[in-house]
């Protein structure tokens, strides 16, 4: 024979579930991740010294804030793209080729950098998917009223079920 207290278990669990989701959901609404920005990481990231075996889809570093959504795109490779048209940049030691298929740096003419395409296409912010909309003040009030109603309903129903006819 069950005690009267045992009748309260399910309503209590119900209230705890609902209140738990409500309270949790009222906090941070960001799908937090350290590995990348908002645009996915299907193309793996890498560090310049990494061997193919160490390449991963993430990496665990902070977003480098370069707008590409990646965390490991080597900034070093961007060193020569300073958009100053007509300025020659001589190859430096860091870009001296070592592969046998590549001609020695000395025979390569100085390579000035020319910015060919000027940005004209505006890219609006990504459509929001994650996180709930900003909560107006009346929502928590409605929640509390709703919780009370649900609790009352559940308790009443539970009591009815266990009342001998």
């Amino acid at each position: 024979m069950s005690s009267p207290l045992s009748h309260l278990i399910r309503p209590t669990v119900l209230v705890l579930f609902i209140a738990g989701v409500l309270l949790l959901g009222a906090g941070s609404q960001t799908w937090a991740t350290p590995a990348q920005g908002p645009f996915g990481q299907t193309v793996p990231t890498f560090t310049p010294t990494a061997t193919p075996d160490t390449i991963t889809g993430g990496g665990g570093g902070e977003d480098d804030g370069d707008g590409d959504g990646g965390d490991g795109i080597p900034v070093a490779t961007l060193q020569i793209v300073t958009p100053v048209a007509g300025t020659g940049i001589a190859p430096t030691a860091t870009i001296t080729p070592t592969g046998t298929m590549i001609p020695p740096a000395t025979v390569v003419p100085t390579t000035p950098v020319v910015e060919v395409v000027t940005p004209t296409v505006p890219v609006p912010a990504t459509l929001p998917v994650t996180g709930a909309p900003t909560t107006p003040f009346y929502v928590p009030v409605a929640w509390i009223i709703g919780l009370l109603l649900v609790t009352g309903l559940a308790l009443t129903w539970n009591a009815r079920r266990h009342t001998p006819s």
Binding site: I18, L22, G40, G57, D66, D68, G69, E115, V121
Partner: protein, 488 residues
């Protein structure tokens, strides 16, 4: 038949109104360019390859409507509608009430799933998630069948179900959780003397379905334009199907981010169904009046497992793995609605009033959700790719670095064969021998340095003096830029 037809009509209108017009970045859909291009060229998409998805998407790309990207988006919408229909059918079985209360609960809950923002967002872009949701719904119904069926189960059924599960694994490997649950429940439910035979039939079916992965080596050997991992040998094949480059991401979220994700999990749940839906779901879970309490309990365990995977998967878009959770929550909501309607007294139209309330309250956020997930105006990826293709110099070697700047270019360059004089090179992939080999085969005129390291742009320029300039694509904040190295 009227209610399922109505569901199809409503969702068909809603999805077609908000469908992405082509390749898109909306709704975390940056992979759409990769998937569409791989399907259009019968190539190999990023690991784990998704052969089932690619073959079905390829079929849809024969539709005489729009371009291949739009047709693949339509495929997602169709899978979403099929999922909703299957969930409706599943609810009818669970609720087992032929009266209007059962119909109402199934209809409202299934529609709620179809209009839940995350589900909706994936229905309007080319992604694997709606097909995965459909597979999840079907396998859930298999599990329900095994829990309720009589001892005598025709072996042919087991084989067919296994075949479906194998094909589902060919779409997304996360379905393995449901597949395992199905095998486990059926082995428990089957009488001991039939267990081995029955399991054998199931495994045979799964193995047959998994043959879809043969698509990978078969197509890779033809050197398609998109050929991740070049899975012609065993190591390449394993690299693709095991998701090697992303393996560290599974359960890889640093602990410090977990509490934030847990909060976001709750916020997302509220965002999907509203507080009314969340309350109804938990009422259904705890009080749902059904003969299949065992099944409902099992779905709770499955939902927790999927939530744990999504929470700990270390990417910014892993919330998409919550779709099976929302599918299960929909079943609970239906049980909750049905339970409340049965408890509510019949006099004075109070049931009707309650039913109206249960429709109006969840419907309230639908316009807001529509604005959030509407991808119909998203032309960013298309405009970006068009601009690069228009303005890149002759025979330019275009270097890309991320999903965002790579996949839309792949679509126009490979699938639509635009600017065939151009060379698209994904810089991070140059680290992989298979990619360097793939570039040599795809672009015979291009010389790819064997050991790229620092300064790839310069290396490519030096190795290819007779070709056009090497241009790096940059997407800084809101604007795409091309920076090209030109020889003097």
């Amino acid at each position: 038949m009227l209610l399922p037809g109505l569901l199809l009509l409503v969702l068909g209108l809603v999805y077609s109104r908000t469908l992405a017009p082509g390749v898109t970045w909306a709704n975390a859909g940056t992979d759409s360019g990769d998937l569409i291009t791989a399907a259009a060229t019968l190539g190999i998409a990023h690991p784990t390859g998704y052969p089932t998805y690619l073959l079905l998407a390829r079929l849809f790309q024969y539709l005489p409507l729009g371009d291949p990207a739009l047709r693949t988006n339509i495929f997602s919408a169709c899978m979403a509608m099929l999922t909703v229909l299957w969930v409706y059918r599943l609810i009818r079985r669970i609720v087992a009430d032929p009266g209007w209360s059962g119909l109402f609960a199934a209809g409202v809950a299934a529609l709620g799933l179809g209009l839940a923002p995350l589900f909706w967002s994936q229905a309007v872009i080319a992604e694997v998630h709606t097909l995965n949701a459909f597979c999840a719904a079907v396998i859930l119904s298999f599990i329900l069948s095994t829990l309720t069926s009589q001892p005598e189960i025709p072996p042919a059924h087991a084989r067919l179900q296994g075949l479906f599960v194998g094909l589902a694994l060919g779409n997304h490997v996360t379905i393995a959780l449901l597949a395992g649950t199905w095998l486990f429940t059926s082995s428990i439910q089957t009488p001991a003397q039939q267990r081995v035979r029955y399991l054998g039939q199931q495994v045979l079916g799964i193995a047959t379905g998994l043959l879809v992965y043969l698509y990978l080596p078969l197509r890779a050997s033809a050197h398609p334009a998109v050929n991740w991992g070049n899975p012609v040998d065993l190591s390449g094949f394993w690299w693709v199907i095991s998701g090697a480059p992303y393996r560290d991401l599974a359960f890889g979220l640093p602990q410090m981010f977990l509490s934030q994700r847990l909060a976001a999990w709750a916020a997302l749940l509220i965002q999907q169904f509203g507080w009314v839906g969340v309350s109804l779901g938990f009422i259904g879970l705890l009080y749902g009046q059904t003969r299949y309490r065992q099944f409902v309990g099992l779905t709770a365990i499955i939902a927790i497992a999927y939530s744990a995977f999504a929470l700990t998967y270390n990417t910014a878009d892993s919330y998409a793995y919550l779709l099976p959770v929302y599918l299960i929550f929909t079943l609970w909501i239906a049980l909750g609605i049905h339970t409340l309607l049965r408890v509510c007294p019949q006099r004075n139209y109070s049931r009707l009033a309650l039913a109206l309330l249960l429709v109006i309250l969840p419907a309230w956020p639908v316009p807001t959700n529509a604005r959030q997930v509407d991808a119909s105006a998203d032309r960013r990826a298309m405009d970006y790719a068009r601009q690069v293709l228009t303005e890149a110099p002759d025979q330019a070697i275009v270097l890309t670095t991320s999903d965002l700047d790579t996949f839309p270019l792949w679509y126009y360059h490979y699938a639509l064969a635009e600017r065939p004089d151009m060379f698209v090179v994904v810089e991070p992939l140059l680290e992989f021998p298979w990619y360097r080999e793939h570039l040599r085969i795809s672009y015979p005129a291009l010389t790819v340095p064997e050991q790229p390291g620092m300064g790839r742009q310069e290396q490519l320029a030096r190795a290819n003096p007779s070709l056009g300039p090497v241009c790096r694509v940059e997407l800084i904040d809101v604007s795409p830029r091309l920076h090209c190295l030109l020889e003097e």
